[in-house]
């Protein structure tokens, strides 16, 4: 640091006292990043972008929304019809929820494929699961605010999950409701928390990024960077790549907002909430469908009644992810070098899609003569078998393919020999 890093004297003056510019330069400019990241690594920054979009559009919506049972629905219609560009901002926020989950689910499955949860990134992964849980809570409460039929009955169903807890369940539920059913107190507290939680998410995201930057990004090969020849500075190489990804992503997002804004929505939610009549077919938002299928799949098992079993299975399916770094104890990270795991990864992905499809259908409906609940049970069972049995066993029995000695090696030599020579061409920089 003998030569000053910044030319601008004001920046230098500030940085000497508050090293904010050094910090940004270190974390977002020179930050060494593996040079072989593919486009699946774009989804982390896209998730960050979505968080910002949701907070900005949400703050604006809160300026026009009224959290009261007799006014909430109409205030949303007021936003749609009267507020300048209110329709645009609401559709950005409404579809933003879906886009956020699409991005985050891809981000999670990328982590699963490339083993990004393995040592030394276990905490990074676990913090990510915390973010997922916070997102789910935020999304759920946000969906209640328009106070349509799906809002009301979705809230009723989900809060009633807690009544499955033995003995204290019913007290917890009336505590959540602030009454004897979903009503004005519930709507008010959900609005308050829906506004609060995104900022909690921001805080946890900071921890997520801190944990990431300690050891740097994983990469498609799943091997550690061996030195400066394996990495490139974050700026301009990954800023420009992220920027390109943002462009493609926003085209997709904007197409949804402008041409099919209600694609992910439920028509029933444009009917004001009515505590006297339940819609014939209640479904949660698409991003909760797999969990909804798990909830409904569990039958009475021994002394655990189906209701409690379903709740345990549903929460268990997420909590399981916290211990994933220890369930999958194979030392090889990337599925590229795990011939058997690679197959199980794709089966798990299909399994989750099947669960989502089952969740969207009534449980007693038939698919070619097979009740959906049966398909749901098989898929739920497989989900747990994958994590609790397959992954631990693979660690013992799978024979991984040989790993390249460095990130540069397969790039420069098509994946062959020449371990020693690889470092040289880049080193003079």
């Amino acid at each position: 640091m003998s030569t000053p890093k910044f030319k601008n004297p004001i920046v230098r003056w500030i940085d000497y006292r508050l090293p904010i510019f050094s910090f940004l330069d270190h974390e977002m400019h020179e930050y060494p990043t593996p040079k072989n990241l593919n486009y699946w690594w774009n989804f982390g920054s896209l998730a960050g972008l979505m968080l910002v979009i949701m907070i900005v559009s949400g703050i604006v919506l809160a300026m026009h929304y009224t959290p009261h049972v007799s006014m909430a629905f109409n205030s949303v219609e007021h936003i749609m019809r009267d507020v300048n560009y209110g329709w645009l901002i609401r559709y950005i926020h409404m579809n933003g929820g879906s886009m956020f989950f699409i991005v985050v689910y891809i981000h999670i499955f990328r982590g699963l494929y490339y083993g990004s949860y393995k040592k030394p990134r276990e905490l990074l992964w676990m913090i990510g699961v915390v973010i997922l849980l916070l997102m789910m809570a935020t999304a759920f409460m946000g969906y209640v605010l328009p106070w349509g039929q799906m809002s009301f009955w979705g809230a009723t169903v989900i809060t009633n999950l807690f009544s499955a807890i033995p003995i204290v369940g019913k007290y917890i539920v009336s505590w959540l409701w602030g009454g004897f059913s979903i009503d004005n107190p519930t709507l008010n507290r959900f609005f308050s928390l829906h506004y609060l939680l995104p900022f909690v998410i921001v805080g946890v995201v900071v921890l997520h990024v801190l944990a990431l930057h300690k050891h740097g990004s994983n990469n498609p090969l799943g091997i550690d960077t061996k030195g400066p020849q394996d990495s490139i500075p974050f700026h301009p190489y990954y800023t420009v790549k992220d920027y390109f990804g943002v462009g493609v992503f926003l085209i997709f997002y904007a197409a949804l907002v402008f041409f099919s804004p209600n694609f992910f929505g439920e028509p029933d939610n444009y009917i004001p909430a009515n505590p006297m009549a339940t819609p014939t077919h209640i479904v949660p938002e698409w991003y909760f469908l797999p969990f909804y299928a798990i909830l409904r799949a569990v039958p009475d098992i021994w002394f655990i009644e189906a209701k409690l079993g379903g709740v345990i299975a549903m929460f268990g399916s997420i909590l399981l992810l916290f211990v994933l770094p220890w369930l999958d104890h194979s030392p090889v990270r990337s599925a590229r070098f795990r011939p058997t795991y690679k197959w199980f990864f794709w089966i798990l992905l299909v399994d989750c899609l099947v669960l989502g499809w089952v969740g969207a259908n009534p449980p007693d409906a038939l698919f070619h003569g097979v009740p959906f609940v049966v398909i749901g049970r098989i898929a739920t069972a497989w989900y747990f078998i994958h994590f609790l049995i397959v992954l631990p066993l693979l660690g013992f029995f799978e024979k991984p393919r040989p790993l390249p000695t460095s990130i540069s090696e397969p790039v420069l030599k098509g994946g062959g020999k020449l371990a020693g020579a690889t470092a040289k061409p880049m080193e003079k920089a």
């Binding site: 300026m63 019809r81 009267d82 507020v83 300048n84 209110g86 645009l88 901002i89 301009p236 920089a429």
Partner: protein
């Protein structure tokens, strides 16, 4: 390392080309321009949403029935969240207002500039000093030294034409846009109406 890579990738031109932009410079500027246009055009909806919404604008005119207001009486009507003073002036009040030497006024205006029909004085009842509502609408109210209105907050005094005569207020009471729909029906805020 970054510099050497950038230089060697500087497409088309050699790195030494003087005064000429490279293709990379062009791409960089073009991308930045597109992004800037996108951000600005998206920023506008987020700014404009705080402007009055359609339902607020729909309530921006108020009709006032003045058929029951006798000579010497005054009514106060809410328009855009503010009181509007409608005074049916007596001939003495009109004469008094017209007799004032305009050159002596802080905010020079003739009485004729402030009314459409001399017997009807229509004003926004908000003191131009700091926004209080002046007294003088009720017969029991203090009307100040000039027989018009008296602001209790800081003692501004208005005459029978609503002009500032004494006290801290800088300007005469504001005249809203209004029209006589009929002889007995006023429409206040008509400038907001498109038709």
């Amino acid at each position: 390392m970054a510099e050497s890579l950038q230089a060697s990738a500087g497409a088309g031109h050699g790195p030494g080309a003087h005064g000429e932009g490279t293709r990379r410079d062009f791409l960089f500027l073009a991308t930045g321009a597109v992004a800037a246009i996108g951000v600005v055009s998206l920023a506008w909806p987020f700014i404009d949403q705080m402007n009055p919404s359609a339902d607020t604008l729909a309530l921006s005119t108020t009709e006032i029935d003045i058929s029951h207001v006798e000579v010497g009486q005054a009514i106060t009507v809410l328009w855009r969240g503010k009181p509007v003073f409608v005074r049916h002036r007596t001939p003495e009040e009109i004469k008094e207002a017209e007799a004032v030497n305009v050159a002596d006024l802080r905010d020079p205006q003739t009485d004729a500039q402030r009314v459409q029909k001399p017997e009807w004085l229509v004003m926004v009842g908000v003191c131009t000093h700091l926004g209080c509502v002046p007294l003088g609408q009720k017969p029991s109210d203090p009307k100040g030294e000039f027989g018009g209105w008296f602001c209790p907050c800081h003692g501004s005094q208005y005459d029978t034409s609503g002009r500032i005569r004494k006290g801290p207020a800088p300007r005469n009471l504001e005249i809203p846009a209004y029209t006589f729909e009929t002889d007995t029906l006023l429409l206040v805020g008509a400038e907001a109406k498109k038709s």
